[in-house]
């Protein structure tokens, strides 16, 4: 060997080239970056907005009042992701965050523990029936859960890991006996209404299941396969318990910094206000990005932690992908149905029948299964619900910095508010806001007089604010046809895409949305596995 055999020094300046570039500093982008950074790679995260956090980017929505972003509680942060990346987000010690279901007539039904381990306000028989259903659904969700932490099997290239997961799932199905296994296969694609009717009598509990199964999904509780949404909810856990939920110490505003810290600790560079204009690709191979300001950054690995449609319809040259692939990406259904309401209140509201302590929990307004179904009906025809259902949290109770002393913030996820509103959101928004506030007033008399400011983000607003096509927080409908090997579409379902070196890592990839960190973490592990797969 002579000295001339030494590898030539890289012709590119180090400042412009990285081992990996991650687009989007949402929690999935940061999780992917942190995982990649920990392997010693030089990783750069590019964020278009002026601050990291993505949909958890906080903002001041009225003088002195802040909102922590789209999400107002954590119910599916993956413990393995949190442990691996050192994300320390834990609930305030004490009882688990409850869920109160209000119907405006009876006292609230309050689910305590993880997804109603005990329930106040219902009969003992009903609580026992709920417990049986909860156990069954949790068991079944547990079978599906094992698929969340790994890339979906790639048809035509099923590996040993895929087979072991499938076998484990198969074993899971029969673990409790043949009858339980058969029941799982019976229920898997059912609608949540029929399942709830089999077990429950109480309309409030049925309303809650209907709400949780359909939140963020364009389905009503009686739509086929609507149970999948509830399974997805129950694959999430808090404090090791399926179906749990919490607001971390420091409030939701602590979530984005926790992911940010994980990335920074891993040596990742994060640049905000750096909008990507184009992903560079040549003959099917990614090579970096060009920023909106024209500067070019190179990397053999580009991880897109933004919506798959934003990735392929806006950033990648159409000619660099196949016609069939782009057709499939364009057909990804991603029209959001949820509006986010932020209210600035001069004092804490009081929901009728609800103890002061339970105001710190999750409050769901859903009278019955039929209420949720009726709320969905107009959404099918491009109209918002005249009698919507919603989930309410009072964020300033957990994080007093969000509102001035004595004042309070209220956050609500309201559905159904279809992205493509026939009348247009310009006229629709004030009308819908009035309806939502009327409902709040009915359940918390006096609330409307305390409103200092109200901001309603329709799916159209969410789309604009977070560059989220359709304003859909799952980055694409979470329905049977857009799951697993079809998320977001067959040829890009394993984080890798038809463009070599370009990976997807957002909620639009497997397993889907919610603050789990799994899409980003899985994508990074897939990249790191490389040829060892």
């Amino acid at each position: 060997m002579t000295s001339s055999d030494a590898p030539p020094s890289s012709p590119k300046t180090a400042a412009q080239s990285y081992d990996a570039i991650v687009i989007g500093a949402g929690h999935n982008g940061l999780a992917a970056a942190a995982k990649l950074g920990r392997s010693g790679r030089r990783v750069l995260v590019l964020e278009a907005a002026n601050a990291p956090g993505g949909a958890m980017r906080g903002r001041e929505f009225a003088p002195g009042f802040r909102s922590a972003g789209l999400a107002h509680l954590v119910n599916r942060l993956d413990p393995e992701v949190a442990r691996d990346l050192g994300i320390a987000l834990a609930a305030t010690p004490g009882p688990a965050m409850p869920t109160a279901v209000l119907d405006g007539e009876r006292e609230p039904a309050v689910l305590r523990g993880a997804y109603g381990e005990t329930i106040d306000g219902v009969t003992a028989d009903e609580a026992a029936a709920f417990s049986r259903l909860r156990d069954k659904l949790t068991f079944q969700a547990g079978i599906l859960k094992r698929f969340l932490r790994r890339a979906p099997p790639q048809l035509g290239a099923i590996g040993i890991g895929d087979i072991s997961t499938l076998m484990a799932a198969g074993f899971g199905v029969i673990r409790k006996g043949r009858a339980e296994g058969r029941d799982f296969l019976r229920m898997l694609l059912m609608n949540v209404a029929d399942v709830a009717d089999e077990y429950l009598e109480d309309d409030r509990l049925k309303g809650l299941l209907a709400f949780d199964a359909t939140l963020g999904i364009h389905l009503g509780p009686r739509s086929p396969t609507s149970l999948l949404g509830l399974y997805y909810r129950l694959t999430g856990e808090a404090d090791g318990k399926a179906g749990g939920q919490f607001i971390p110490q420091g409030g939701m505003a602590a979530v984005a910094p926790a992911f940010l810290k994980a990335a920074e600790t891993a040596g990742v560079t994060i640049r905000c206000g750096a909008r990507v204009g184009r992903i560079l690709a040549d003959r099917g191979k990614a090579g970096g990005v060009v920023l909106a300001d024209g500067s070019e950054l190179s990397a053999p690995v580009v991880v897109s932690a933004i919506h798959p449609q934003a990735t392929f319809l806006q950033l990648v040259d159409a000619a660099e992908t196949g016609t069939g692939f782009l057709r499939a990406i364009r057909h990804v259904r991603s029209a959001g149905n949820v509006a986010k309401l932020d209210l600035a209140l001069s004092r804490m509201p009081s929901f009728a029948g609800l103890s002061g302590r339970d105001h710190a929990g999750r409050i769901v307004i859903a009278r019955s299964m039929t209420h949720v179904e009726n709320a969905f009906n107009p959404a099918k025809y491009g109209e918002f619900s005249p009698d919507p259902v919603m989930e309410i949290v009072l964020p300033s109770l957990a994080d007093s910095t969000l509102a001035p002393d004595g004042a309070c913030t209220l956050s609500a996820l309201v559905q159904y508010a279809p992205y493509k509103l026939k009348a247009g959101w310009e006229t629709g928004k004030p009308a819908f806001l009035r309806i939502v506030i009327d409902i709040l007033e009915r359940h918390a008399p006096g609330l409307s007089d305390t409103i200092l400011a109200a901001e309603l983000s329709t799916p159209a607003d969410i789309e604009a604010e977070y560059n989220l096509p359709g304003g859909h927080w799952h980055h694409g409908e979470l329905q049977a046809d857009q799951l697993l090997v079809n998320r977001p579409t067959g040829a890009a379902s394993g984080y890798a895409t038809p463009i070599e070196g370009l990976y997807l890592a957002s909620a639009g990839a497997h397993p889907g949305g919610g603050i789990s960190g799994l899409a980003g973490w899985n994508a990074a592990r897939h990249i790191l596995a490389g040829d060892r797969r």
């Binding site: 196949g322 069939g324 782009l326």
Partner: protein
């Protein structure tokens, strides 16, 4: 974006849509001349049009192509007009060859694939202007072409019915053009396009064809079709011009070694069975694939298949002993192991050889190229006579004519 014009009102649209049943077979712009010359009433359906299988005698029509001049109506051929600032980039993404290398006023043969690299069709691409192209092919592809245009500034419209086309093929074809007053046609080299005055408008003439002979293809707006036909017919009177049907043309295309979509291979969109689709390399179109040009549909799949050696088929030319055409015959290795199928076969009067195009299952045709046989079933008065004939892989074309490429072309 497409050729469908918007009707004035719904009722009118319904009536217009209903009336199509009155003409289950469309007549081409040249139909009045073809039907006047027709002696055998032997029509078939070509892409929804009435087209002659033969007009008077298949054998004599064949010899018109090879000995004098033949007029063949190609109006039913599907034609798309593609123009706009991104037209070149669009076609480069759509098709296998590098369109940047296709000069204005030139034609090239090409093919296009789906994302999996399976061939959707083959055809000819005419570069009429810097941003103006015409794509001619066998099957219809408008949805695919429109979807491929997403994100690109390009306009695509089908002009099959608006544009009449006629192929003038054979050794005296240039003489006919010269006599008809197409001065300057002598300068057209193979795959060149020229524009000539005709009847107050223009006729686009390309030195192309499907016969492997000297020949031209002429395109005019539909209303100029009959005067063009008459102009050629009159000029060709002393040059043995004949109108021909597809049967004769098919013989010459086999001699020239050309393949026909959904005859020699099944197009990806037409295939019902998963294993019937074909990669370019599996139907002899590997030479069209240009890995150095910008990305195109199917690129990754084709290159992967080459690298991983997962190509399953190969298209070969065969020469078969005897003189019985082996159409759709089984091909065997060592006379017993099935190795493929003959997709087209004729006794070639020009080559004086029994030739065939066959699709073989690799490694037959690649590693095992000797000891091939075809099993011909010849129906002889309600009894099959089975013949096992020796076959030899030979290069295509089976017939190579110097006059096809000679420029200036000969007058006889």
């Amino acid at each position: 974006m497409n050729a469908l014009t918007k009707p004035a009102n719904a009722a009118e649209a319904r009536r217009a849509a209903r009336d199509h049943i009155a003409t289950p077979r469309l007549e081409t712009p040249f139909h009045p001349r073809l039907s006047a010359l027709d002696a055998v009433n032997d029509w078939y359906n070509w892409a929804g049009c009435k087209a002659p299988h033969a007009l008077f005698d298949e054998e004599l029509e064949y010899f018109a192509i090879r000995s004098t001049a033949a007029l063949f109506d190609i109006s039913p051929m599907v034609k798309y007009r593609i123009d706009g600032p991104d037209a070149e980039r669009y076609l480069n993404r759509l098709t296998l060859r590098d369109v940047r290398k296709l000069g204005v006023g030139r034609v090239h043969y090409t093919a296009w694939c789906d994302d999996d690299g399976h061939v959707l069709d083959d055809g000819t691409l005419f570069r009429l202007g810097d941003q103006d192209f015409r794509l001619c092919c066998q099957e219809r592809h408008l949805p695919w072409l429109l979807d491929s245009a997403f994100g690109l500034a390009v306009d695509i419209r089908e002009e099959t019915e608006e544009i009449a086309g006629v192929a003038l093929q054979g050794p005296t074809s240039y003489a006919v053009l010269a006599k008809a007053g197409f001065s300057g046609a002598e300068r057209l080299k193979p795959f060149d396009i020229g524009s000539f005055a005709h009847d107050g408008g223009t006729v686009t003439v390309s030195r192309t064809g499907f016969t492997g002979d000297l020949g031209y293809e002429l395109f005019v707006p539909r209303q100029a079709a009959l005067p063009l036909w008459d102009r050629l017919w009159t000029a060709g009177a002393d040059h043995g011009i004949r109108a021909i049907g597809y049967a004769a043309l098919n013989r010459t295309r086999i001699e020239a070694g050309f393949i026909v979509a959904n005859a020699d291979f099944v197009t990806a969109e037409a295939a019902l069975r998963a294993d019937r689709v074909r990669l370019p390399d599996e139907i002899g179109l590997d030479w069209l694939v240009d890995p150095d040009k910008p990305n195109f549909n199917g690129r990754r799949a084709i290159l992967d298949a080459r690298r991983n050696q997962t190509l399953k088929h190969v298209l070969v030319g065969l020469e078969i002993e005897g003189n019985i055409p082996a159409e759709h015959a089984f091909v065997y290795h060592r006379g017993k192991r099935e190795a493929g199928l003959v997709t087209a076969a004729i006794w070639s009067p020009t080559a004086k050889r029994n030739v065939a195009i066959a699709s073989l299952d690799r490694p037959y045709g690649t590693r095992f190229v000797d000891d091939l046989w075809v099993e011909i079933y010849a129906m002889r008065e309600l009894k099959y006579q089975k013949m096992m004939k020796r076959a030899k892989i030979v290069p295509r074309p089976f017939v190579k004519l110097a006059r096809r490429t000679a420029t200036p072309p000969g007058l006889r």
